[in-house]
Symmetry: C4
Subunit: 473 residues, 4 copies
């Protein structure tokens, strides 16, 4: 009898998103102020700044784009905001080598109280496919109380999943239900990513009564106004629920929006990347500063995010230390093994003072396992080259030149074009921009030590010097 192959089971549900999606979404910076020109100008800028070639592919139009339904029950784009129509916008975006995302809610209204899709899933999916939509962000507002158990939420979100699939068009399907009813436990067979917390706000670690939980699981009220550190610390418990084709979405990036310091944005971007979160820029790209471009363009960080291992980081330890004015203070060690055997190590200082932090190979490799068996302690006994992943950060002058269109040289240490060569190939070829800056090595008896400034992170890639030590997947 012929054997039916595994890919025919429902995971991954549509074959898309084997590494986390990247792109841009207008909400964090523009909210409801959406328009054809905003999307197209931004798309153009994303190409010009080299962001498309770094992987930022999806231009996502968030809430507030419709003017209701027509007499046939189909959604209508707001003609004042989108005078040329959505198909035109899609075509333009496609012509730039980018993809186009749209937004709706699994409720009777969107969060900004426009028409929602609950009850109109099949009609809406067909319409979006006809426009050439490549991506749906699907929110959770005004859901008529259809929540309370995983089953109730799954059933609601699964209708749109089937509707999208039935269109025949590949459409990335991203849940935005804020982690309600634990989507990390059931959404992998119906979606490509899923939010796991309340909405982000542009703040590093400030607690806010509107974001009452410190854990994702068992949280009765995800809320919003969640800080970067709040969202980050909700990830470790659900670390195993990130996988190729489905990623836990830590929400859109705030880099560039002005609420955090440069080093805080570096933490934000680094930890999102390391946790395999979707990377959706959430700022005004047309007015992006040189420093922020340098952060968003760091290929050594992006290549972690896009690694085929498709897994989230492990928080090896966390200690509470001197709090800042928000009352918060902590340090932590995070690790993530990549598919070629390299290891990423993050020493995160969210305390109120600069400090020396350290770790050892034993700490880094303890508890790591492949799908077959525990790795032998040979990793702890090997010597590893150390690469500082922010060591080659683009200077502000270089970034400014890109912004101003005056860049003349292509710096192989700082810039990368993934359209030409994939991150995987670049890593294999030891591309300097992906490896970061070589700063030494660490042998078994040594301690890995780093000065880590207040509210910043040191990110290392460790590569074994000797025999290749990697997972045989």
């Amino acid at each position: 009898m012929p054997v039916v192959n595994i890919p025919e089971v429902s995971y991954p549900y549509n074959g898309l998103n084997m590494v986390p999606q990247m792109g841009w979404d207008n909400w964090n910076a523009f909210g409801c102020s959406v328009s054809e020109s905003l999307l197209l100008n931004t798309a153009k800028k994303i190409v010009d700044l080299g962001l498309r070639d770094l992987g930022y592919e999806y231009i996502v139009l968030d809430d507030c784009w419709s003017s209701g339904r027509n007499s046939s029950g189909y959604l209508v784009a707001d003609s004042a905001k989108f005078p040329s129509g959505m198909k035109y916008v899609a075509d333009q975006i496609h012509s730039l080598g980018l993809k186009f995302g749209i937004y709706s809610s699994a409720g009777v209204m969107t969060c900004a109280r426009y028409e929602g899709s609950l009850g109109n899933e099949w009609k809406d999916a067909r319409l979006w496919a006809s426009w050439g939509i490549d991506y749906l962000k699907y929110d959770n507002c005004f859901n008529q109380g259809q929540s309370g158990t995983p089953k109730i939420s799954f059933d609601r979100y699964s209708v749109m999943s089937q509707a999208l699939k039935s269109t025949g068009r590949p459409i990335l399907y991203t849940l935005c239900n804020w982690g309600n009813d634990d989507p990390y436990d059931w959404a992998q067979t119906i979606a490509n990513s899923g939010r796991m917390s309340g909405d982000i706000s542009d703040t590093f670690n400030k607690p806010d009564a509107r974001c009452p939980c410190t854990e994702a699981v068992g949280c009765p009220w995800p809320g919003f106004h969640c800080s970067v550190m709040n969202i980050l610390n909700k990830m470790p418990a659900i670390q195993s629920r990130t996988m190729s084709g489905y990623f836990n979405d830590m929400d859109m990036l705030e880099v560039g929006n002005g609420g955090q310091s440069d080093s805080e944005y570096v933490v934000h971007f680094s930890m999102w990347a390391m946790n395999a979160s979707p990377l959706l820029m959430g700022t005004n790209v047309e007015t992006l500063s040189a420093a922020d471009l340098a952060i968003l363009s760091n290929p050594a960080i992006i290549s972690i995010n896009q690694d085929p291992s498709a897994s989230a980081a492990v928080r090896k330890w966390r200690y509470f230390v001197d709090p800042d004015e928000t009352g918060e203070g902590e340090i932590s060690l995070w690790t993530r093994g990549l598919s070629n055997g390299d290891m990423i190590v993050a020493l995160l200082n969210a305390g109120n003072t600069d400090r020396i932090m350290n770790t050892t190979l034993s700490e880094i490799f303890t508890g790591r396992r492949t799908t077959s068996t525990f790795l032998s302690p040979k990793e702890v006994q090997a010597t590893w080259d150390l690469y500082d992943l922010w060591g080659n950060r683009m200077t502000n002058d270089e970034a400014a030149a890109i912004i101003n269109g005056t860049a003349t040289n292509w710096n192989n240490n700082t810039r990368y074009n993934a359209t030409v060569k994939s991150y995987q190939d670049g890593t294999r070829d030891n591309d300097a921009a992906l490896l970061g800056k070589h700063i030494g090595s660490i042998s078994p008896s040594e301690t890995l030590t780093a000065e880590v400034a207040r509210h910043s992170v040191v990110m290392y890639r460790l590569r074994s010097q000797g025999s290749r030590m990697r997972d045989e997947l």
Copy 2:
């Protein structure tokens, strides 16, 4: 194709209550001792005291009014309590320019064990409409276990919502399910307000074993005997769920019932108003003291509540301080932006001693956003006029004159008639009664400082001196 407009979606579900309802409900002061004369005498007094013209519009008859169902299954008003019948009462109330509310429970009995409406929703709604009822308070007792997920509760409450709508009569629909199953997450499309906590008691901050939760969300047992401070501190987490047409109901006012000091009642009234809670007086209006009338009649506070922004306050910070004999002690800063760009600031001292409290423009405006984008820091850099919202509080002599019918002068600083000019128009016109007492200004480099007595609040309205700084909605 014709475009169907947004108002046709189910939000707001019936077009009523774009700002919070105001009125009077007999329960807190009279419990089951209801009668035709109580309602009509109270209604008359509400008109005479100028309360109707301040916005107190609904006369709500609470539990214990029926004598069961007749052989056709229709509810029958208790003829001993309501000898002239409910239609007569409604007509009389309407003739005074007021509206008439009634009570039932989404269960087989009301909380006082009279006939409930579960299973009789359509019949009861038609009857009430025939009587001329304008408002329904719908309780949660004896619900046959129909709770446990948002879906179960939504489905139960939604039957009455449809029944009321089907009558064709505009009937304000208010849920009283104590926050069970998170109505703030699903009730906006089926109701006009919803209780978010256990029942209030006339106490400022005394913990009570019968009100075991300190947060609304995830509370397994809302209970009753909740203090003013307990209910208040359940609001911040659900701040985003207040909106035009649906308000989180902090329960009826206790002002006048004797369990709190004058300054505690001022806190109670101010914070209810600022959080866009419905304002239902809950005392014996016929014996209202001068001081309590002065509180309930402060137009500068009411105008916040009735602002079209229709949003709840943000608790910017909260610190635990010296406890009083109840074991509780805290101070907090609350802000709320109004639709014309003014900002309300409350410095609340629920500690056991008088103290100096202070804040800055930076603290006040941090984290504020419009629906389109973050406000620029220009607000932090502006100079703002300061108005003390209790600075023009009516004197007891003035209030006593109103009560005694001996008032001869109309004091433009203390009194307001919203029947003649809406709060919105009055605010635009800088009506003194709405602005409060001008006490100075605050510039960017300054600290806003106030002496705040034990168990009291200082309420300010900030108005920009320079160019108009407001949300463009």
Copy 3:
């Protein structure tokens, strides 16, 4: 149109149990060792000791009585244990002026793994009625996962409720689902009492890992091996859910089983009585000690329990004090108003040392309300006679004489016959046995002070000296 009266609604669902049931259940002392002779000998002894005439009316046969189902699907009594058959047992019990209760589980097995009633409710109810059963204790084991929301549990327990009612025989229906899914919120319309915690064990305050919760509401695992103090402190939050016809069942008494000191049993019995818990003796009555008979026979305490007010006590305050070897230590003040205006006050010392405790009229009467309005402070301004409810406790000699059948005098201070005169009439007539020992009075300016030994309680009845101060129901 004729008006249908309130009693026809589903509350109280069968008109029984307007005050808490009293009786005896074999489980705590005998577990599965049940037999015809145990029941009949015990019933006889209950009559002989005067316990029947104190109100202990139901003889409840707990688990392990059946030998399965016959071919028609009817339960069969174990003929080895009940050679004369259940109808005979019922007849004998009835002939003693007592009533007969039986046990089953709302699952496919009982907790001791005998046949359960889930799916056989109507058949089992008919059988029990045919035997002359007056009472059903209905457990929760092996319920096929039919729990998780109030709705699921309500629906399961409601089947037996309908089945019992349909028999036409008055059968008291008591839920034993350990408080799962909050029966205190939904069972009043389908049952006469409902357990609100995990199983009791014969220990005063020892924490046990098998009884992990300290609150009834929101408890994910009621467990068993719960101490007297653990169960007691789960009551205040649900105080409002006790009412005529439905009582929160704190589980069967352990008095007499040897695990606690005399004063601890006094606390246990007093607090169960004061909280309107069913009072089911759970010991071997045939070997009852004089001291334990004196506790179980105190009419001044029983009369509180049987008061028509049918309400639970309010815990006015609770402080943690010096712990004993279990790690627990606390003191608390409890009050309960009776229907004739008397007030019961309990000063409970569960700390590790004897101490002076005190309270005031203000503390006792604060927050008390009738169904119509707050009581005026006149109560605080009145003078009250004080009766010590354990002041007339029967001496061990007197109790021993009753046990030995050698009692010759009837002591009007210690003994009471409620068959002859109801508790309500006795209270009205100032029967000495019900009032307790007059020990003085308390006036407004005074402090009520008592020496309260380690692990004991002082119980007072307060009766107003002046004009009658009582609830007008």
Copy 4:
């Protein structure tokens, strides 16, 4: 009328597993690296090492064995891994006197993303029966959100229960749903064991963010990477839910996998045995060290596990003491009564230093009860012989000889063959290997004292010297 006997009710659901299952599962050591040769070589070794005759009976093939479904919808074994087919493997295992277990998930995929059985239960059960499968481990991954209440989970797992039963083949059915929705409360009528926590990792007490709960009940996220001590301390609350035919499964053993010290593995094995957990070896048996064989082969410990009492241990007390580098430190006393009246006592030191621990007969026997009544205090007044259950532990030399096939003598103190004589018979006959080493006795006035090294346990069997003191079941 003929009486239907108790065994016909649904408990135990299939008559299997009256004592906990024992065997081996490949997952902990081999993960997805499964093959015919691994299973057959391991089975052979288990026989050779005497492990089969100690009771390790089931050879369980875990995840990753299929290559999908054929066109008729039947699962197909991966022919590369299992070239001779599953029936052949089953036959070979059976011919060794062992039984064969297989794995699937109550979801659309297994946890390693192979074909799951949700929706194919009857087809899969028939196939497995046709192969000669004796055991199913049934996981919880990718369950399409079918969880959230006990009812939803019960209904899902019950389908496979019925399917397995319908095959007519006795198949042990073990749930692996990590304790979600409290299987210990509902699975006894549909399964033979059920996991009660997140996955074990080979660590003694290290907290891990991926295993966030410290209690089994009410845990919103069982997770994985749970330590031995974490899982152990989740057992006491559900102690009563272990019973003949259904055991709470603490997950497979890590003994031999290298992550813990010898004394930590002794704790792990002892406490699993004492809590009536299934004992599935989870290591590479072919490379088992002498020391680990000595642990896994201790008949004095295994006989506790296999005692017909079939009950879990009671944690009598737990204190937090000096923490080690993980931040954890505790000591505890555990007891378990056996069916012949013997008592097992464990003094567990999970603190960071060696210490003297002690207990008394009063502490050991307090709170113990039979199914009929409380045991009289005669146990506290008796004198008990003390046996050290690790006193006769096989030396490493002796174990090495077994491993090397050079063992010539059979040591009656250390070795046992339960195939020849059951544990129950051996215990009755005072077999030295089952009793352990006699080290003295304890009388009522004495304190039982033991030196307990850091991270280790002292295990005693107490046997009454005088008249037989045992439960009369």
